[in-house]
Amino acid sequence: MADQRHGTERPAPEQTGPDWIIPAIAAAFAVYYVISISALRWEAMISGLFVAIVLGVLLALFGLRTVLRLRDGRARVSFEGTFTGRDGLVRQALLLVYIVAFINMVSVLGFTLGVFSFLFASLLTIARLPWTRAALISGIAALTGYVLFIVALRTQFPSGPFETLLKPAVDAFRVAVGLA
């Protein structure tokens, strides 16, 4: 909101608060890093220490600037509008849950079934697609990934029942095209 006093427009105060999350993480990491190197020899610690000190100075400047802005009324503490509304939050939370599940399950399911399960669950609940469409898209994506990454590029992704089942056929194909 503009301040109309004295006939001049004054810009609305900037929002501060959320922009302290990254500095807080950076400060915590810098403290941990400095502790982790405190017993090391000079050569092992100097460059990291230099970066940590510069980071500390920058964070101090940022803190000082925030205090001055708050004092002058050019900033206000607020978390309003930084993060999304309810629908968006639910979608983001679901995606995070599926990512954690995928990371934990991929060693058991293998690449193809892991990708299929992740996409099927996501498309069903986040995109809210009908299950037939979700299954079709997930199946095509998982099979494309299998052909490109595992058959063609031979990436060492975790193997599961699907990869184990098709391994003899893939090996025979590679021998046939001279890429064994």
Binding site: P23, E43, L58, F62, L95, L119
Partner: protein
């Protein structure tokens, strides 16, 4: 050896005779370049059974074509999804993605392809003739100069990537500190690893890139159901081939811009270890510095899309120069190529130009042919590629996440790296939402280990005398450029403000 026109003609004709192989390699290159985690070096490693089995000229043609195509491909997700395929395309996101959001994805893609092709073609041609001179660049840059270049890089990026310089610097130095994770270069003692053995080799770049860009962007995407603004969607739905033609016209009208920014890439690429990410940012910053409309940078400005792409592709030619001339690879892909060439019995270094000139110069002829073939195959696809942004974000986000997560796994085959990508994704998401540019964090992570290695080398050589960093004319010149880059934006904005006031005064 003197280069004559008939010799050059022979080289290009030989490269053209492998057109079918170049088409296969460029298709693979563009595809893997567009998928974060599958860089050219990983793909060449995966395809070693092929490159080691065939004749040397065929192997070299395949590797070079794949390499240049991966540079071009990395701009595609940068423009369409705000996710660079490689670190070299990180600067392309700054203006490419805003163009896509406005419904100008097709134009932005054409700009990146034309800038990549023209920039790559010019630098490959220049490299052919300037090989002996460019190779000397590396001789003038030792650890002392490299430290200044690295600091230069991180400060430039902090100035460019964030609207708030202080936040940009905090993000950059936070990235540098993350880059300092891992064992030290002398005693191999672990630092800041949280006890994880997987971090002893340092912060792996691919999971960091994927987390900071792909996962965080997917989370941001889910706040809305479309990448496009309302006006952007309408524009996209009505767009036809005229958008591509307009993009070509815009790019060619700015041909000089492509030329000089690609030369920046060529020169920086010739410095071993400097890399495409720094070159792209230096080109972006220089482009903005000399622009008549610097305020348009960051909002979807055509020149700001072309500059990093031209430089990124210029690096492609530059990084192969030290490999061919002195046998020192200028980047990780060049290092993999070195392995293949050595296996085939090729002696790299000055003697290569007398014993196998067709091989040494043929690399750049292959680049020329690859760019030419790529342009004609990829330009018609821009209309269809750009349609990706019409897909709902609720479908796009999970697809991006799952394929980039497996990309995080690919280089080291550690499930741990997927977890790391998730952690970096959450940090990236918070950074994006609170005004800290993820590009600055990523570049800090990339430069951190290089900075430390060069810093330690310089200190050991000088007997721990810090004045060594001001001991050479080149280093002093670089410090002066660094200081100039810090103050130049303020001087230029004051000058512009002054000119604006004069203009207003005259109008009044």
């Amino acid at each position: 050896m003197e280069i004559t026109l008939p010799f050059l003609g022979d080289l290009v004709a030989t490269a053209f005779s492998y057109w079918w192989l170049i088409l296969i390699a460029t298709t693979i290159g563009i595809t893997i370049g567009a998928i974060p985690g599958f860089g050219a070096q990983n793909t060449i490693i995966m395809l070693l059974p092929f490159t080691l089995a065939v004749e040397i000229d065929m192997a070299l043609t395949f590797m070079v074509a794949l390499y240049v195509a991966s540079h071009m491909g990395s701009g595609i997700p940068a423009v369409l999804l705000n996710i660079p395929g490689t670190g070299g395309a990180a600067a392309t996101t700054i203006d490419g993605y805003p163009m896509a959001k406005k419904g100008k994805a097709q134009q932005a893609l054409v700009l990146t392809f034309v800038a990549s092709t023209v920039g790559g073609t010019i630098t490959a041609t220049l490299a052919l003739f300037l090989l002996p001179y460019l190779s000397r660049v590396a001789y003038y840059l030792h650890s002392v100069e490299m430290v200044v270049i690295m600091l230069f890089g991180i400060i430039l990026i902090a100035l460019i990537a964030a609207k708030d310089t202080l936040k940009g610097l905090i993000a950059g130095f936070f990235g540098l500190l993350i880059g300092a994770i891992g064992t030290d270069h002398i005693y191999s003692t672990p630092r800041g690893t949280f006890g994880f053995l997987e971090l002893y080799d340092g912060m792996p770049l691919i999971p960091a890139l994927i987390g900071l860009f792909a996962i965080s962007e997917a989370l941001v995407m889910l706040e809305k159901t479309s990448v496009l603004s309302e006006g952007g969607r309408a524009r996209m739905l009505n767009s036809g081939w005229s958008e591509s033609l307009e993009g070509i016209r815009m790019a060619l009208a700015r041909w000089w811009h492509i030329v000089w920014t690609s030369i920046i890439g060529l020169v920086i690429g010739a410095v071993p270890g400097a890399g495409a990410s720094i070159a792209a940012f230096v080109a972006y910053q220089q482009s903005r510095l000399f622009s008549k409309t610097p305020e348009a940078y960051g909002t979807g400005h055509p020149e700001a899309v072309m500059a990093p792409e031209a430089a990124n592709n210029g690096v492609g030619s530059g990084s192969l120069i030290p490999l061919l001339v002195i046998g020192v690879p200028g980047g990780s892909t060049a290092a993999v190529m070195l392995v293949v060439l050595t296996y085939h019995g090729v002696q790299l270094g000055p003697q290569l130009f007398t014993t196998r000139p067709e091989l040494a110069y043929g690399v750049f002829a292959t680049m020329l042919v690859s760019y030419l073939l790529m342009l004609f195959t990829i330009l018609p696809l821009t209309r269809y590629l750009s349609r990706i942004v019409l897909i709902s974000t609720t479908v796009l986000a999970p697809v991006i996440v799952v394929f980039t997560l497996v990309g995080a796994f690919a280089p080291r085959a550690y499930v741990f790296d997927m977890g790391l990508a998730l952690v970096m994704g959450i940090i990236g998401f918070v950074a994006r939402k609170t005004g800290y540019h993820v590009v600055a964090i990523l570049i800090g992570i990339i430069l951190g280990p290089i900075l430390e290695a060069n810093f330690m080398r310089a200190m050991r050589i000088s007997g721990n005398d810090a004045t060594v960093f001001f001991s050479s004319p080149v280093a002093i010149g670089l410090w002066a450029m660094l200081a100039f880059s810090l103050v130049a934006p303020f001087i230029m904005s004051r000058l512009r403000r002054g000119n604006g006031q004069d203009e207003e005064g005259r109008q009044a």
